[in-house]
Symmetry: C2
DNA sequence: CGACTGACTTAAGTCAGCACAAGTCAGCTA
DNA sequence: TAGCTGACTTGTGCTGACTTAAGTCAGTCG
């Protein structure tokens, strides 16, 4: 094939005890845990809708384009997992309703969703996708970046993968 | 980041034609497209392994903790989708082998994986997860951030969701 | 030559995620 | 009182993601 000219993208470097990759398995991996929580398409879509401000059962099902049984099951799972809360509320003259809202934990997924959306815009569409996020104050488009605590913008190839030392004393973090 | 008050986290604001949420459906959503490509747990795990430097079939299956048939099927899909390439290579005295490597498109998923891992570290583990990324040059831990093109660090609540105007003339992109 | 290894494929069966259609049920409205 | 609406649940059946176990096949080693 034609693999000669496009160089492979640089990857993170494994350091310390992680360097011999064949000596460890990533079974406690936070990524795997995260995937277990939001593994399904329907879960992703429901969380997207929650970010778009949807709160009601029927709206979730219709806007995410999923069936009601799946919507019910998934919402329950997401509530159980602590990503959404179910709140009762009542408008005057109406009976009680339920509103589903993101918790801090659920809202913490925003960068991940934004990154995935950005990747889809970049690689899966012709013209950059149907919607985008802008900073309200200055109107500029928003992107997901990797930055170190010193403020440097980084790429995967600039990174080391390390096993943090949490034995006893913690420097600052 | 000590953000544990009871108030609901702030969400992006819908603007322009997107403001009446009941009037549009996000069916061209890049997030949905992205999920269709990497929907399965096994695909996620294989890409994670690729970032950790794994290149060979058996290693992928073993390290991702998936069976060989699934590994084969998923690798083929990821190659077909353009996230991985399959390269033949030959070490002296050995027969030809195949190596799977991330393409630029596959490598572009790094921020999304990093964000998911960070979320898992934060919300799904006691002590912050088993591995972390550091900037090689300065040793500082790396985080995923949302920044606008003007360089401001932003939160979901600072954002507007807009439909970009791509009708006819394109400013610069 | 036969054994072994790496990279798969085939077979058979389980289980989860999904859709569609229909039913339930509480409470408000006419 | 009857009907409507929102928020579900139940039943049925499909497809696809996954497993284990076993088979294939080319190439290298002893």
């Amino acid at each position: 094939m034609t693999e000669t000219e496009n160089a492979a993208p640089a990857m993170p470097r494994l350091t310390g005890v992680l360097a011999p990759r064949e000596r460890w398995q990533a079974n406690a991996c936070s990524l795997a845990k995260a995937i277990d929580v939001v593994s399904t398409r329907s879960a992703f879509l429901l969380i997207r809708e929650a970010f778009y401000g949807t709160t009601r059962f029927d709206d979730f099902a219709e806007r995410a384009g999923i069936s009601e049984p799946v919507c019910a099951a998934r919402l329950r799972e997401l509530v159980d997992a602590g990503l959404l809360t179910r709140e009762e509320y009542r408008e005057p003259g109406q009976r009680a309703r339920r509103a589903y809202r993101l918790t801090d934990k659920g809202a913490g997924l925003f960068p991940a969703l934004a990154a995935l959306m950005e990747w889809g815009d970049r690689w899966l569409t012709e013209d950059g996708g149907p919607v985008e996020f802008r900073h309200r104050d200055c109107g500029e488009p928003v992107e997901v970046e990797l930055r170190c605590a010193a403020g440097h913008r980084t790429e995967p190839g600039d990174l080391d993968l390390v096993r943090p030392d949490r034995s006893g004393y913690h420097p600052a973090r």
